[in-house]
């Protein structure tokens, strides 16, 4: 499944970049994130609770950040496993200035296996978009709360 989209933040690029790599900010913004811990250089372990139809369940996994081009782009590699199955994803995020705000574009691919694939593949795109939307909204409100 391929995912692509964008979000415009009302914050300067430097602040957005910082927030997107800040474990504290990520933990708060990722929907259903119960735990996010740094386990190494640019690597985190996460526990996520997802409450959407066939992909409902608690997932544990890792997030790795790679190919950082400061304030411009990075790649995110995600693996997660839960009762309904497992997912593996890879996405590239690109930041660019957009007037007084910052445009974040993402493009990535998600592979699912287990019940998620069998029962949820039709729902997966919608669910992922929903979760990504919630994530950006959460980030946005944090950026508004704390000054860059």
């Amino acid at each position: 499944m391929e995912l692509a989209g964008e979000h415009r933040f009302r914050a300067p690029r430097q602040a957005v970049w910082k927030a997107l790599l800040d474990p504290e900010a990520l933990r708060e913004a990722i929907p259903g994130c119960e735990q996010l811990e740094r386990i190494g250089e640019d690597a985190y372990s996460v526990t996520l609770k997802v409450g959407i139809a066939a992909i409902k369940g608690t997932y544990t996994g890792t997030v790795r950040i790679a190919d950082q081009q400061p304030e411009t782009s990075y790649r995110m590699l995600v693996t997660g496993e839960g009762k309904p199955g497992s997912v593996e994803g890879e996405a590239e995020l690109q930041l660019s200035e957009d007037g007084d705000g910052t445009l974040v574009r993402y493009r990535g691919e998600v592979r699912a296996r287990g019940a998620i694939a069998r029962l949820g593949s039709r729902l997966l795109t919608g669910a992922a978009k929903l979760l990504i939307g919630q994530f950006f909204k959460g980030m946005e409100s944090q950026l508004q709360r704390r000054p860059a």
Binding site: A54, K83, G85, S86, R111, A112, R113, G114, A115, A117, R118, L119, S121, R122
Partner: protein, 811 residues
Amino acid sequence: MTTMERPVLPKLIGARVKRREDPRLIRGRATYVDDIKLPGMLHLAFKRSDVAHGRIKRIDTSAAEAMPGVVAVFTGKDLMALPGATRPVGARGTYAAKIGAGLPPMPIGTPFPSPDHYAIAPEVVRYVGEPVAVVAAEDRYVARDAVDAIVVEYEELPAVVDPELAMQGQPTVIHEGFPNNLALPYVPMGTGVDPATGQVDNSAIDRAFAEAEVVISQRMVNHRVAPNAMEPRGVVAHWDAGKEFLTIWSATQNPHILKSMVAAVLGLGEHQVRAIAPEVGGGFGCKINIYGEEYVAAALSRILERPVKWIEDRSEAFMATIHGRDLICYLDIAARRDGRILGVKMKLIADIGAYNMLLTAAIPTLTMLMASGTYDIPAIRCELTEVFTNKTPTDAYRGAGRPEATYFLERGMDMLARELGLDPAEVRRRNFIPKEKFPYTTQTGAVYDSGDYEKALDRVLQLAKWDELIAERDRLRAEGRLVGVGLAFYVEVCGLGPSSSLPTGGWEHASVTVERDGRIRATTGASPHGQGNETTFAQMLADLFGVPIEHITIEHGDTGVVRQGIGTFGSRSQAVGGTALMMAGEKVRKKMAKFAAALMDANEEDLVFENGMIYVKGSPSTGKSFAEVARYAYVPVPLPPGLEPGLSEEAFFEPPNNTYPFGAHICMLEIDRETGEPRLLKFFAVDDCGNVINPLIVEGQVHGGLAQGIGQAMFEEVVYGPDGQLLTGSFMDYALPRATDFPWFELDRTVTPTPVNPLGAKGVGEAGTLGSTPAVVNAAVDALSEFGVKHIDMPLRPEKLWRIIHGRGQA
């Protein structure tokens, strides 16, 4: 005392008798496997592979075993006779330790070479859904939770998904010893092929194509579908340790085969196993197989010394029950410009999934056998390759190999008609096997028993009002609507037997007992699961003995009650099982006539059985009641010389040949220009299944077959992702047709009896799936003819049709 007035009983053979089974089914009073509850019964759940292809690196069952209510967890290695099967399970030990041997690989029913296939994968998983462990727990919920607590680590291997890449060994080889994933590398059939040596002489088929004035060539896919019986599979196993006797209840189509195979795999004698198919909610072929879960349930009951139950859930069924079809065909037809066919070539590639099941390898050979269809084709060459992929294994699904042949050939006939600008009915008529030529031996070796194809064609054209239908289509087209008409003809193999054609034996068994009170209990080795044999078989006996149908019980599906049997598949119940029943009934009637003759001092040849009486022909008032003669047979004072007491006989019937029912289907279909959505407007079916016992049941069977045949053409498709993940694991993603998707089915019949059994009955269980699928696709191609489309692969998804309409190419 015997002269009292008796009601006149109607003759029931040929009558529209309502199914006696239905009241209990409709009112929820039937007993299915899941209704069986035994004291102390444990519940099983299977941990299944989430990866399409992988090596098991580690299975951690400790968390599952620690859960309250979990009695035992077994991996493949624990149950199988393999090194490493040493892990003790509680105090119970491994299966091998307990029984003295592990579960061997599962047997198959075809003679072809086959890789080892264990009920639970010990080392390598080869499709999503393959079992890797089983949990036995005190209740079903605990069992399911414990399965979730099992952690399996795989070393993922490349998934083999595309059969045409698979046969080049790409991206990898699934089974050692089967290079290039070839389950069957090359099987030729037809003209110039010596069946004994497999030697091939191409001269005749090459000549046909050299002399052709027109050649049609097309690659087609008859895609993978899921059988979707209303009741998923299920099994209850009870090992009686005291008697050393296993009773196994299963949602199966053939309890006698189950008994034999479970006994063999568990190392028991057949005298130690009783198999029971209680009420079975449909099978469509998928319940012919004996599955790993049945062996595992039997083995676990034996190890744990408790009854065990496993019930498949719906999404499990999508991946763990066999799939049907999945055949690619490269079709070539050589013809003259007058439409006469000179030769046909079918190059077939069967994607059989990860393993050979009971009949897997044999199913596509039936496609080759039926490549001649209803046509007198002088040269045919079929070539079959069967390929392993990382998917659920395929096997028999309603029609099993014959719908595929019909689809390819009938699509080809339409392409030929279109190419030559001929009426599709006329092209078929010019190629029909004339009725004088029966019995007719096809170039692929099938011996068609009887047929009158022109009659069926004329009947369907009349039923559909063909000329008016075409005029209506043209009128609607003139309004800008996309409307098409499709015709397809079929012939199929039914009444499976004789024994030379089936590894299980090709006979059927029946017994008939007239009880002391004159009521009749009969058994049949056929194991109906929707076919209505409790009704049709009782109709036959009612007429034979002249008694009310209410006085007759037909028992089936229990090897403890039905002494022998093969089972229900290949539309054989009526033709083979029905004949066995009539043979047993006639034996009993003959003996009963001897008792009646003695009682009445009459000649047994002069006796008539009618209206609950046995009397001398012409003088009904002087007869004895049926019940009185029955009583005398059990308390025979005096015993007539040369007679044993009692009225109970059995019979085996082995048919000399298969039967070949046929028919013609026509449909009218419209495609929405804006959305690409297809809708059936009309459907006509003429089927010839020989003599008919109950037209109502025959029509019901045709309706069901049509629903599944149309379902494949329009909606149903099993889809795998490029990584071998099953993407259609629920009814949200796998589209089954609904009643609202169908127009009124207009049905008719012609009657061409078969000479291969005394009933003249051919079989009708699968027929509906044969003609309907190509008829629908033919109609869709016709509807889109203005876009120059030659062929559309099924299913007719709106998106696919929309692309053709809007010039975006074929999906």
